[in-house]
Subunit: 150 residues, 4 copies
């Protein structure tokens, strides 16, 4: 998927861009795995990220999964491209509760302009994982622009 | 839309539930309008909520819009129901930048179990508004359960 | 929305392209209104388009609404562009039954490459209309290509 | 996934309901595989199902994939339940061209009321398959009702 040359140095590019997503530090999320076309982000449970029943808010679940999908796409883009989410759909499958959430995004189809990704969030407690959300997303590569440096 | 009786006291119920969404305090969002079938949530810009280009992260945009849609649905539900988001789709239309974001959710079709909502997020700077995102969401009413009190 | 010049002759272009969508003749759908950024397609009820309960199949509802949205976007594109649907989400709100279905698509945000549209399908019986479906769609302009003539 | 007892006789129920979807005969689609939680529908290419470029229309692609997902969900439901699609999102990944399209739907999460499914459509030409679309869908079980017999 994608031009092999395009991915040169992709891990460093993904890590550098993720480090500039200030919201990730705010919510306590960490980039835990970067492969060509697949990215994982982990978020330990925090009570200050919850909705009214004490589960992690669906929007926060979407925040880490959107970034996991976006960076999965970004890992296959040319080195000078910027990445923007066009749209996504998310289904919430179970309450987002557990010791930590792990978002895994992967590329389904990489195109020159648009890349389609899918991904899941699992809640981990001890050694057990339950899928709490699944996403289908469209991500766009923006050609080199000075105002959108990654 | 919905049984009129069902909405009795809806504003107090929405405000009480919103106050328990701890993530809203964490990101600095406020409930600014509650009508039967329509809810507005405002979020002043904060640099610690941004993605890599300095725009508010799409997941945070979705967080306030998901809650605006969910509470729009909740306002028409029976007083003892709990509300959960089943799924949503969001299109990001412009970079989320400005002095503040305002999410407006409204009910399209209220059913006994499922309610369909739509909504937008606008970015306000001075007196000007630009739509930055639009959502189509499915929300579920959960009949009275002790473990899901609103 | 969009460059005014881009729309020159848009009605003729939409009508010509619609006439080449052979599926529309197969299901009996007609183009009933073309404006800049808004298109309407009508489909009289036919029993041979139904699902197992006798309602028009959700996929057929989506077929006319997808085309209504796509042509709403196409009406604002440059004269030499081709149009392709990137993705859409549809919510089915009520059973699709009635004398005829009318799909109305409109542009929410027109961009150079991507256009976001929304639309509804109503079921008409006598003078009464009920909304049976709502869509949020992303449509792409493909620059002039010999293999994708509209 | 789902109560084993619930699936008793599921294949006969799926086949009987599919046979009542008159649109499937109209477009020439056939039910080619039924398992508990997974259903396949095949559609030979027909020029009278195409959009303006000669590809099968996205709405027809969605028609077979929506039914594949819906029947995958239905196969795990109680014998007296009816099935309705709540909503779906579909991404079109490649032009739908080839000798035949094959839609494969499978259950991601089966609940008492709502079931979430995913699925793909591949285009087959000779022995080669290309994924042309992917869907994420929400399907609802309607308890026994005389007006919605499957």
């Amino acid at each position: 998927m994608g031009d092999a040359a395009a991915g040169d140095g992709f891990e460093a590019r993904v890590r550098a861009s993720f480090a500039r997503q200030r919201v990730m530090e705010t919510i306590g999320a960490a980039l835990t795995r970067v492969e060509a076309g697949a990215v994982e982000i982990a978020l330990p449970y925090r009570a200050d990220l919850t909705q009214q029943h004490g589960f992690v808010h669906a929007g926060i679940v979407a925040t880490i999964l959107d970034s996991a999908c976006g960076y999965a796409a970004f890992s296959l883009m040319p080195a000078d491209a910027a990445v923007l989410t066009v749209e996504y759909k998310i289904n919430l499958l179970r309450p987002a509760q557990g010791d930590r959430l792990v978002a895994r995004g992967r590329v389904v189809r990489a195109g020159k302009t648009l890349t389609v990704c899918t991904g899941d969030v699992v809640a981990r407690t001890g050694g057990q994982e339950n899928v709490v959300a699944t996403m289908l997303a469209t991500v766009m590569a923006i050609p080199q622009r000075d105002d959108l440096k990654e």
